[in-house]
Protein backbone atom coordinates (compact mmCIF):
# COMPACT_ATOMS: atom_id res chain seq x y z
CA UNK A 1 0.00 0.00 0.00
CA UNK A 2 2.75 2.40 0.97
CA UNK A 3 4.65 1.62 -2.22
CA UNK A 4 1.54 2.31 -4.24
CA UNK A 5 1.01 5.67 -2.55
CA UNK A 6 4.65 6.58 -3.13
CA UNK A 7 4.49 5.72 -6.81
CA UNK A 8 1.24 7.66 -7.10
CA UNK A 9 2.88 10.79 -5.79
CA UNK A 10 5.79 10.27 -8.19
CA UNK A 11 3.36 9.94 -11.07
CA UNK A 12 1.61 13.14 -10.06
CA UNK A 13 4.87 15.08 -9.86
CA UNK A 14 6.00 13.70 -13.23
CA UNK A 15 2.66 14.69 -14.76
CA UNK A 16 2.99 18.23 -13.39
CA UNK A 17 6.51 18.49 -14.83
CA UNK A 18 5.40 17.28 -18.26
CA UNK A 19 2.47 19.69 -18.24
CA UNK A 20 4.73 22.60 -17.29
CA UNK A 21 7.13 21.64 -20.05
CA UNK A 22 4.31 21.43 -22.59
CA UNK A 23 2.73 24.74 -21.59
CA UNK A 24 6.08 26.52 -21.58
CA UNK A 25 6.89 25.37 -25.12
CA UNK A 26 3.47 26.49 -26.38
CA UNK A 27 3.58 29.78 -24.49
CA UNK A 28 7.06 30.73 -25.72
CA UNK A 29 6.35 29.68 -29.30
CA UNK A 30 9.64 27.83 -29.47
CA UNK A 31 10.36 26.37 -32.88
CA UNK A 32 13.22 24.15 -31.83
CA UNK A 33 12.37 22.84 -28.40
CA UNK A 34 10.04 19.84 -28.72
CA UNK A 35 6.75 19.27 -26.94
CA UNK A 36 6.10 15.98 -25.15
CA UNK A 37 3.92 14.99 -28.08
CA UNK A 38 6.68 15.40 -30.69
CA UNK A 39 9.07 13.55 -28.39
CA UNK A 40 6.72 10.57 -28.22
CA UNK A 41 6.22 10.68 -31.99
CA UNK A 42 9.98 10.84 -32.54
CA UNK A 43 10.52 7.88 -30.25
CA UNK A 44 7.91 5.82 -32.06
CA UNK A 45 9.50 6.71 -35.39
CA UNK A 46 12.89 5.44 -34.20
CA UNK A 47 11.34 2.36 -32.67
CA UNK A 48 9.58 1.53 -35.91
CA UNK A 49 12.60 1.81 -38.16
CA UNK A 50 14.57 -0.27 -35.66
CA UNK A 51 17.44 2.16 -35.13
CA UNK A 52 16.40 2.79 -31.51
CA UNK A 53 16.88 -0.86 -30.59
CA UNK A 54 20.23 -0.97 -32.34
CA UNK A 55 21.46 2.05 -30.42
CA UNK A 56 20.22 0.66 -27.12
CA UNK A 57 21.79 -2.68 -27.96
CA UNK A 58 25.20 -1.25 -28.73
CA UNK A 59 25.22 0.90 -25.61
CA UNK A 60 24.27 -2.07 -23.44
CA UNK A 61 26.86 -4.29 -25.10
CA UNK A 62 29.61 -1.79 -24.35
CA UNK A 63 28.49 -1.41 -20.77
CA UNK A 64 28.28 -5.16 -20.33
CA UNK A 65 31.83 -5.66 -21.66
CA UNK A 66 33.50 -2.79 -19.80
CA UNK A 67 31.62 -3.36 -16.57
CA UNK A 68 32.04 -7.14 -16.80
CA UNK A 69 35.81 -6.81 -17.19
CA UNK A 70 35.89 -4.36 -14.30
CA UNK A 71 33.99 -6.78 -12.06
CA UNK A 72 36.35 -9.61 -12.97
CA UNK A 73 39.36 -7.53 -11.98
CA UNK A 74 37.97 -5.45 -9.11
CA UNK A 75 36.50 -8.17 -6.91
CA UNK A 76 39.56 -10.44 -6.68
CA UNK A 77 41.86 -7.43 -6.42
CA UNK A 78 39.70 -5.80 -3.75
CA UNK A 79 39.53 -9.01 -1.73
CA UNK A 80 43.27 -9.45 -2.00
CA UNK A 81 43.96 -5.88 -0.92
CA UNK A 82 41.53 -6.30 1.92
CA UNK A 83 43.23 -9.41 3.26
CA UNK A 84 46.89 -8.70 2.56
CA UNK A 85 48.12 -5.62 4.34
CA UNK A 86 51.19 -5.25 2.12
CA UNK A 87 49.03 -5.23 -1.00
CA UNK A 88 46.79 -2.60 0.54
CA UNK A 89 49.53 -0.15 1.53
CA UNK A 90 51.18 -0.54 -1.87
CA UNK A 91 48.18 -0.27 -4.16
CA UNK A 92 45.74 1.90 -2.24
CA UNK A 93 47.58 5.23 -2.71
CA UNK A 94 47.79 4.61 -6.45
CA UNK A 95 44.07 3.92 -6.70
CA UNK A 96 43.26 6.91 -4.54
CA UNK A 97 45.06 9.11 -7.08
CA UNK A 98 43.54 7.46 -10.14
CA UNK A 99 40.02 7.38 -8.75
CA UNK A 100 39.18 11.11 -8.79
CA UNK A 101 40.26 11.50 -12.42
CA UNK A 102 37.10 11.94 -14.45
CA UNK A 103 36.64 9.25 -17.09
CA UNK A 104 36.22 12.08 -19.59
CA UNK A 105 39.85 13.03 -18.97
CA UNK A 106 40.83 9.56 -20.14
CA UNK A 107 39.23 10.01 -23.57
CA UNK A 108 42.32 11.30 -25.43
CA UNK A 109 44.46 8.52 -24.01
CA UNK A 110 41.91 5.83 -24.75
CA UNK A 111 41.70 7.04 -28.36
CA UNK A 112 45.49 7.02 -28.54
CA UNK A 113 45.66 3.46 -27.23
CA UNK A 114 42.57 1.89 -28.67
CA UNK A 115 41.63 4.10 -31.61
CA UNK A 116 38.16 5.40 -32.34
CA UNK A 117 35.83 2.51 -31.78
CA UNK A 118 34.32 0.03 -29.43
CA UNK A 119 37.54 -0.82 -27.66
CA UNK A 120 38.15 2.70 -26.48
CA UNK A 121 34.58 3.08 -25.18
CA UNK A 122 34.86 -0.23 -23.35
CA UNK A 123 38.15 0.88 -21.89
CA UNK A 124 36.58 4.10 -20.61
CA UNK A 125 33.73 2.21 -19.01
CA UNK A 126 36.19 -0.17 -17.45
CA UNK A 127 38.38 2.56 -16.04
CA UNK A 128 35.36 4.43 -14.67
CA UNK A 129 33.73 1.51 -12.90
CA UNK A 130 36.73 -0.47 -11.71
CA UNK A 131 37.95 1.90 -8.99
CA UNK A 132 34.75 2.30 -7.00
CA UNK A 133 34.35 -1.48 -7.01
CA UNK A 134 37.92 -2.11 -5.83
CA UNK A 135 37.54 0.44 -3.05
CA UNK A 136 34.15 -0.86 -1.93
CA UNK A 137 35.34 -4.47 -1.88
CA UNK A 138 38.43 -3.58 0.13
CA UNK A 139 36.35 -1.57 2.60
CA UNK A 140 34.02 -4.54 2.85
CA UNK A 141 36.87 -6.86 3.85
CA UNK A 142 38.29 -4.33 6.29
CA UNK A 143 34.96 -3.88 8.04
CA UNK A 144 34.28 -7.56 8.68
CA UNK A 145 33.55 -7.67 12.38
CA UNK A 146 36.43 -9.06 14.37
CA UNK A 147 34.20 -11.39 16.38
CA UNK A 148 33.39 -13.32 13.20
CA UNK A 149 37.02 -13.63 12.14
CA UNK A 150 37.91 -14.82 15.61
CA UNK A 151 35.13 -17.38 15.65
CA UNK A 152 36.32 -18.64 12.28
CA UNK A 153 39.91 -18.88 13.52
CA UNK A 154 38.73 -20.85 16.52
CA UNK A 155 37.73 -23.77 14.32
CA UNK A 156 41.02 -24.22 12.44
CA UNK A 157 39.28 -24.42 9.08
CA UNK A 158 41.35 -24.68 5.89
CA UNK A 159 42.09 -21.41 4.09
CA UNK A 160 39.77 -22.12 1.18
CA UNK A 161 36.83 -22.71 3.46
CA UNK A 162 37.69 -19.65 5.56
CA UNK A 163 37.64 -17.57 2.43
CA UNK A 164 34.50 -19.02 0.85
CA UNK A 165 32.39 -19.22 3.99
CA UNK A 166 33.59 -16.19 5.91
CA UNK A 167 35.50 -13.53 3.98
CA UNK A 168 33.52 -13.67 0.75
CA UNK A 169 29.98 -13.78 2.16
CA UNK A 170 30.86 -11.20 4.82
CA UNK A 171 32.04 -8.85 2.08
CA UNK A 172 29.28 -9.61 -0.41
CA UNK A 173 26.93 -6.78 0.62
CA UNK A 174 29.70 -4.24 0.09
CA UNK A 175 30.64 -5.88 -3.20
CA UNK A 176 27.06 -5.45 -4.35
CA UNK A 177 27.09 -1.79 -3.28
CA UNK A 178 30.29 -1.38 -5.29
CA UNK A 179 28.67 -3.03 -8.30
CA UNK A 180 25.69 -0.70 -8.07
CA UNK A 181 27.97 2.33 -8.02
CA UNK A 182 30.13 0.84 -10.79
CA UNK A 183 27.23 0.10 -13.10
CA UNK A 184 25.78 3.56 -12.52
CA UNK A 185 29.07 5.17 -13.48
CA UNK A 186 29.44 2.84 -16.46
CA UNK A 187 26.09 3.96 -17.81
CA UNK A 188 27.04 7.62 -17.39
CA UNK A 189 30.29 7.06 -19.22
CA UNK A 190 29.02 5.04 -22.17
CA UNK A 191 26.84 7.95 -23.27
CA UNK A 192 29.73 10.40 -23.01
CA UNK A 193 32.06 8.06 -24.89
CA UNK A 194 29.57 7.54 -27.69
CA UNK A 195 29.08 11.28 -28.11
CA UNK A 196 32.72 11.76 -28.90
CA UNK A 197 34.13 8.77 -30.65
CA UNK A 198 31.47 6.43 -31.94
CA UNK A 199 28.90 5.83 -34.67
CA UNK A 200 26.33 3.95 -32.67
CA UNK A 201 24.72 3.89 -29.26
CA UNK A 202 22.38 6.21 -27.40
CA UNK A 203 25.05 8.90 -26.95
CA UNK A 204 25.73 8.90 -30.67
CA UNK A 205 21.99 8.94 -31.35
CA UNK A 206 21.64 12.17 -29.37
CA UNK A 207 24.56 13.94 -31.02
CA UNK A 208 23.49 12.72 -34.45
CA UNK A 209 19.94 13.98 -33.93
CA UNK A 210 21.24 17.43 -33.10
CA UNK A 211 23.82 17.58 -35.88
CA UNK A 212 21.53 16.21 -38.55
CA UNK A 213 18.92 18.92 -38.54
CA UNK A 214 18.29 19.99 -34.98
CA UNK A 215 15.98 17.07 -34.19
CA UNK A 216 15.59 18.08 -30.55
CA UNK A 217 12.61 15.78 -30.20
CA UNK A 218 15.02 12.87 -30.67
CA UNK A 219 17.58 14.48 -28.34
CA UNK A 220 15.04 14.63 -25.54
CA UNK A 221 13.73 11.17 -26.38
CA UNK A 222 17.31 9.85 -26.09
CA UNK A 223 17.77 11.52 -22.74
CA UNK A 224 14.59 10.06 -21.32
CA UNK A 225 15.45 6.59 -22.59
CA UNK A 226 18.91 6.84 -21.03
CA UNK A 227 17.31 7.77 -17.72
CA UNK A 228 14.83 4.91 -17.85
CA UNK A 229 17.45 2.30 -18.75
CA UNK A 230 19.71 3.61 -15.98
CA UNK A 231 16.85 3.12 -13.54
CA UNK A 232 16.28 -0.37 -14.85
CA UNK A 233 19.95 -1.31 -14.48
CA UNK A 234 19.99 -0.07 -10.90
CA UNK A 235 16.83 -2.07 -10.24
CA UNK A 236 18.61 -5.15 -11.58
CA UNK A 237 21.51 -4.59 -9.19
CA UNK A 238 19.04 -4.11 -6.36
CA UNK A 239 17.71 -7.58 -7.05
CA UNK A 240 21.10 -8.85 -5.90
CA UNK A 241 20.42 -7.27 -2.52
CA UNK A 242 17.43 -9.57 -2.18
CA UNK A 243 19.56 -12.70 -2.34
CA UNK A 244 19.13 -14.79 0.78
CA UNK A 245 22.83 -14.84 1.52
CA UNK A 246 22.95 -11.05 1.95
CA UNK A 247 19.59 -10.50 3.65
CA UNK A 248 21.31 -10.32 7.06
CA UNK A 249 22.88 -7.02 6.06
CA UNK A 250 19.56 -5.32 5.48
CA UNK A 251 17.42 -7.08 8.11
CA UNK A 252 16.52 -5.25 11.35
Amino acid sequence: MKGLRNSWSSIVVAAVLVATWWLTVIYTNSFIFPTPKTVVEGTLELARDGSLWEHIGSSLMRVASGFGLAVLLAIPLGLWMGRVHGAFVTMNPIFQILRPISPIAWIPISILWFGVGNASAIYLIFIASVFPMIVQTTVGVHTIEKRFLRAANNFDVPRGKFFLQVVLPATLPQIITGMRIGLGVAWLVVVAAEMIALRSGLGYMIMDARNAGNRYDLVVAGMIIIGLIGLLLDGLMRLLENMKIVRWRYAH
Binding site: R150, A151, N154, D156, V157, K161, V166, I245, V246, W248
Partner: protein
Amino acid sequence: MPIKIKIDNVRKGFPTDKGHLDVIQNLDFEVADGEFVAIVGPSGCGKTTLMNIMAGFLAPDSGAVKVDGVPRLGPNRKGVLITQQGSVFPWLTVRQNLLFGLPDDLANREVLAEEYAALVGLKGFENNYPHELSGGMLKRCEIARALVVKPEILYMDEPFSALDALMSLRMQNELLRILAKEKHTVLLITHDVEEAIHLADRILVLSPRPTRIQKTFEVGIPHPRRVSSPEAQALRVDILRELGVSETI
Protein backbone atom coordinates in the same frame (compact mmCIF):
# COMPACT_ATOMS: atom_id res chain seq x y z
CA MET B 1 41.74 -35.57 38.06
CA PRO B 2 44.69 -34.50 35.89
CA ILE B 3 45.27 -30.81 35.31
CA LYS B 4 43.77 -29.61 32.04
CA ILE B 5 44.61 -25.92 32.07
CA LYS B 6 47.36 -24.17 33.95
CA ILE B 7 47.49 -20.39 34.20
CA ASP B 8 51.06 -19.71 35.09
CA ASN B 9 51.87 -16.25 36.43
CA VAL B 10 49.95 -14.47 33.66
CA ARG B 11 50.27 -10.73 33.43
CA LYS B 12 48.54 -8.42 30.97
CA GLY B 13 48.17 -4.69 30.47
CA PHE B 14 47.15 -2.34 27.69
CA PRO B 15 48.76 0.87 26.50
CA THR B 16 46.23 3.69 26.71
CA ASP B 17 46.20 7.47 26.22
CA LYS B 18 46.71 7.93 29.93
CA GLY B 19 49.63 5.51 30.09
CA HIS B 20 49.84 1.81 30.76
CA LEU B 21 46.74 0.12 32.14
CA ASP B 22 47.47 -2.91 34.30
CA VAL B 23 44.59 -5.34 33.83
CA ILE B 24 45.77 -8.73 35.02
CA GLN B 25 48.39 -9.04 37.71
CA ASN B 26 50.25 -12.28 38.15
CA LEU B 27 47.35 -14.66 37.92
CA ASP B 28 47.87 -18.30 38.88
CA PHE B 29 45.33 -21.08 38.86
CA GLU B 30 44.64 -24.56 37.57
CA VAL B 31 41.59 -26.20 36.11
CA ALA B 32 41.17 -29.96 36.37
CA ASP B 33 40.07 -32.09 33.45
CA GLY B 34 36.28 -32.07 33.28
CA GLU B 35 35.94 -29.36 35.88
CA PHE B 36 33.42 -26.52 35.61
CA VAL B 37 34.95 -23.27 36.83
CA ALA B 38 32.97 -20.05 37.04
CA ILE B 39 34.66 -16.66 37.22
CA VAL B 40 32.91 -13.65 38.71
CA GLY B 41 34.27 -10.18 39.28
CA PRO B 42 33.42 -6.51 38.99
CA SER B 43 32.72 -5.07 35.55
CA GLY B 44 35.89 -4.04 33.73
CA CYS B 45 38.19 -6.04 35.98
CA GLY B 46 39.61 -8.07 33.11
CA LYS B 47 37.44 -11.19 32.81
CA THR B 48 37.05 -11.00 29.05
CA THR B 49 40.75 -10.23 28.72
CA LEU B 50 41.55 -13.32 30.76
CA MET B 51 39.24 -15.47 28.66
CA ASN B 52 40.81 -14.18 25.44
CA ILE B 53 44.23 -15.08 26.77
CA MET B 54 43.09 -18.55 27.82
CA ALA B 55 41.44 -19.23 24.47
CA GLY B 56 44.58 -18.11 22.64
CA PHE B 57 43.27 -14.90 21.06
CA LEU B 58 45.48 -12.64 23.09
CA ALA B 59 49.07 -13.14 24.21
CA PRO B 60 49.92 -12.41 27.84
CA ASP B 61 52.66 -9.86 28.53
CA SER B 62 54.38 -12.46 30.64
CA GLY B 63 53.59 -15.89 32.01
CA ALA B 64 51.94 -18.69 30.09
CA VAL B 65 48.74 -20.61 29.57
CA LYS B 66 49.28 -24.35 29.33
CA VAL B 67 46.70 -26.77 28.04
CA ASP B 68 47.61 -30.40 28.71
CA GLY B 69 51.05 -29.15 29.68
CA VAL B 70 51.65 -27.49 26.30
CA PRO B 71 51.88 -23.69 26.11
CA ARG B 72 48.93 -22.25 24.25
CA LEU B 73 50.08 -19.96 21.47
CA GLY B 74 46.96 -19.42 19.41
CA PRO B 75 43.31 -20.41 19.11
CA ASN B 76 42.40 -23.92 18.06
CA ARG B 77 39.41 -26.21 18.03
CA LYS B 78 40.49 -27.95 21.21
CA GLY B 79 38.89 -25.04 23.09
CA VAL B 80 36.03 -23.05 21.65
CA LEU B 81 35.15 -19.57 22.85
CA ILE B 82 31.57 -18.40 23.13
CA THR B 83 31.76 -14.63 23.21
CA GLN B 84 29.85 -11.97 25.03
CA GLN B 85 28.53 -10.40 21.81
CA GLY B 86 27.83 -13.65 19.99
CA SER B 87 29.47 -14.72 16.76
CA VAL B 88 27.09 -16.93 14.82
CA PHE B 89 27.77 -16.16 11.15
CA PRO B 90 24.76 -14.17 9.92
CA TRP B 91 25.34 -15.19 6.29
CA LEU B 92 25.10 -18.91 6.99
CA THR B 93 21.99 -20.84 7.95
CA VAL B 94 21.79 -22.65 11.28
CA ARG B 95 22.84 -25.89 9.58
CA GLN B 96 25.73 -24.25 7.73
CA ASN B 97 26.89 -22.67 10.99
CA LEU B 98 26.92 -26.05 12.71
CA LEU B 99 28.72 -27.63 9.77
CA PHE B 100 31.32 -24.86 9.68
CA GLY B 101 33.68 -26.31 12.26
CA LEU B 102 33.37 -29.90 11.04
CA PRO B 103 35.95 -31.14 8.53
CA ASP B 104 34.54 -31.54 5.00
CA ASP B 105 35.66 -35.14 4.80
CA LEU B 106 33.95 -36.18 8.03
CA ALA B 107 31.50 -38.85 6.94
CA ASN B 108 28.71 -38.20 9.43
CA ARG B 109 28.94 -34.40 9.56
CA GLU B 110 25.38 -33.87 8.33
CA VAL B 111 24.08 -36.28 10.94
CA LEU B 112 26.07 -34.56 13.67
CA ALA B 113 24.79 -31.14 12.70
CA GLU B 114 21.24 -32.38 12.79
CA GLU B 115 21.78 -34.08 16.12
CA TYR B 116 23.22 -30.98 17.77
CA ALA B 117 20.57 -28.71 16.33
CA ALA B 118 18.02 -30.99 17.97
CA LEU B 119 20.06 -31.08 21.18
CA VAL B 120 19.66 -27.33 21.67
CA GLY B 121 16.06 -27.31 20.51
CA LEU B 122 16.61 -25.88 17.05
CA LYS B 123 15.05 -28.77 15.18
CA GLY B 124 13.02 -27.37 12.32
CA PHE B 125 15.10 -24.19 12.17
CA GLU B 126 18.14 -25.69 10.45
CA ASN B 127 17.48 -23.79 7.26
CA ASN B 128 16.79 -20.46 8.92
CA TYR B 129 19.21 -17.59 8.89
CA PRO B 130 20.31 -16.10 12.22
CA HIS B 131 18.34 -12.90 11.70
CA GLU B 132 15.23 -15.05 11.61
CA LEU B 133 15.93 -16.41 15.10
CA SER B 134 15.24 -14.99 18.56
CA GLY B 135 18.08 -13.94 20.86
CA GLY B 136 17.82 -17.14 22.86
CA MET B 137 17.78 -19.33 19.75
CA LEU B 138 20.85 -17.51 18.49
CA LYS B 139 22.72 -18.24 21.72
CA ARG B 140 21.70 -21.89 21.50
CA CYS B 141 22.91 -22.02 17.92
CA GLU B 142 26.27 -20.65 19.03
CA ILE B 143 26.52 -23.21 21.82
CA ALA B 144 25.59 -26.01 19.42
CA ARG B 145 28.20 -24.82 16.92
CA ALA B 146 30.81 -25.02 19.67
CA LEU B 147 29.67 -28.38 21.02
CA VAL B 148 29.35 -30.15 17.68
CA VAL B 149 33.13 -30.12 17.17
CA LYS B 150 33.45 -31.85 20.56
CA PRO B 151 35.91 -29.38 22.05
CA GLU B 152 37.75 -30.48 25.13
CA ILE B 153 37.32 -27.04 26.63
CA LEU B 154 34.42 -24.63 26.43
CA TYR B 155 35.15 -20.99 27.20
CA MET B 156 31.96 -19.06 27.82
CA ASP B 157 32.00 -15.30 28.31
CA GLU B 158 28.65 -14.24 29.79
CA PRO B 159 26.79 -16.45 27.34
CA PHE B 160 23.37 -15.90 28.88
CA SER B 161 23.63 -12.32 30.07
CA ALA B 162 21.74 -10.91 27.10
CA LEU B 163 18.77 -13.19 27.79
CA ASP B 164 15.89 -12.58 30.15
CA ALA B 165 15.90 -14.36 33.51
CA LEU B 166 13.59 -17.17 32.43
CA MET B 167 15.47 -17.88 29.23
CA SER B 168 18.78 -17.74 31.06
CA LEU B 169 17.58 -20.36 33.51
CA ARG B 170 16.33 -22.61 30.72
CA MET B 171 19.67 -22.33 28.95
CA GLN B 172 21.52 -23.17 32.17
CA ASN B 173 19.44 -26.32 32.54
CA GLU B 174 20.04 -27.27 28.93
CA LEU B 175 23.76 -26.77 29.40
CA LEU B 176 23.76 -29.01 32.49
CA ARG B 177 21.82 -31.64 30.59
CA ILE B 178 24.34 -31.57 27.73
CA LEU B 179 27.32 -31.64 30.11
CA ALA B 180 25.87 -34.65 31.90
CA LYS B 181 25.92 -36.46 28.56
CA GLU B 182 29.33 -35.41 27.28
CA LYS B 183 32.21 -34.31 29.42
CA HIS B 184 33.84 -30.98 28.73
CA THR B 185 36.08 -28.76 30.80
CA VAL B 186 34.17 -25.51 31.14
CA LEU B 187 35.18 -21.96 32.02
CA LEU B 188 32.27 -19.62 32.51
CA ILE B 189 32.40 -15.90 33.08
CA THR B 190 29.25 -14.50 34.56
CA HIS B 191 28.03 -11.57 36.60
CA ASP B 192 25.15 -13.65 37.89
CA VAL B 193 26.22 -15.27 41.16
CA GLU B 194 23.22 -17.61 41.22
CA GLU B 195 24.10 -18.82 37.74
CA ALA B 196 27.63 -19.57 38.92
CA ILE B 197 26.32 -21.49 41.94
CA HIS B 198 23.83 -23.35 39.78
CA LEU B 199 26.44 -24.55 37.31
CA ALA B 200 29.99 -24.56 38.64
CA ASP B 201 32.15 -26.91 40.68
CA ARG B 202 34.32 -23.99 41.73
CA ILE B 203 33.88 -20.23 41.69
CA LEU B 204 36.76 -17.78 41.42
CA VAL B 205 36.07 -14.25 42.60
CA LEU B 206 38.32 -11.72 40.89
CA SER B 207 39.32 -8.41 42.45
CA PRO B 208 38.95 -5.01 40.76
CA ARG B 209 41.64 -4.05 38.27
CA PRO B 210 44.50 -4.91 38.24
CA THR B 211 42.82 -8.19 38.87
CA ARG B 212 43.94 -11.18 40.88
CA ILE B 213 42.08 -14.06 42.47
CA GLN B 214 40.48 -12.63 45.56
CA LYS B 215 38.86 -15.79 46.82
CA THR B 216 37.93 -19.28 45.68
CA PHE B 217 34.70 -21.05 46.59
CA GLU B 218 34.07 -24.75 46.19
CA VAL B 219 30.43 -25.48 45.41
CA GLY B 220 29.96 -28.80 47.14
CA ILE B 221 26.26 -29.09 46.36
CA PRO B 222 25.25 -32.18 44.35
CA HIS B 223 23.25 -31.83 41.14
CA PRO B 224 20.40 -31.17 40.55
CA ARG B 225 20.86 -28.00 42.54
CA ARG B 226 18.23 -25.67 43.86
CA VAL B 227 19.50 -22.14 44.04
CA SER B 228 16.87 -21.38 46.68
CA SER B 229 18.26 -24.02 49.06
CA PRO B 230 19.75 -22.66 52.32
CA GLU B 231 23.30 -23.76 51.51
CA ALA B 232 23.17 -22.20 48.05
CA GLN B 233 21.81 -18.98 49.50
CA ALA B 234 24.48 -18.93 52.19
CA LEU B 235 27.14 -19.35 49.51
CA ARG B 236 25.55 -16.59 47.50
CA VAL B 237 25.71 -14.17 50.41
CA ASP B 238 29.36 -15.05 50.97
CA ILE B 239 30.25 -14.46 47.34
CA LEU B 240 28.32 -11.20 47.17
CA ARG B 241 30.09 -10.01 50.30
CA GLU B 242 33.39 -10.81 48.59
CA LEU B 243 32.23 -8.65 45.67
CA GLY B 244 31.50 -5.82 48.08
CA VAL B 245 27.74 -6.15 47.99
CA SER B 246 26.11 -6.60 51.39
CA GLU B 247 22.57 -7.77 51.12
CA THR B 248 19.93 -6.36 53.40
CA ILE B 249 16.63 -8.07 52.94
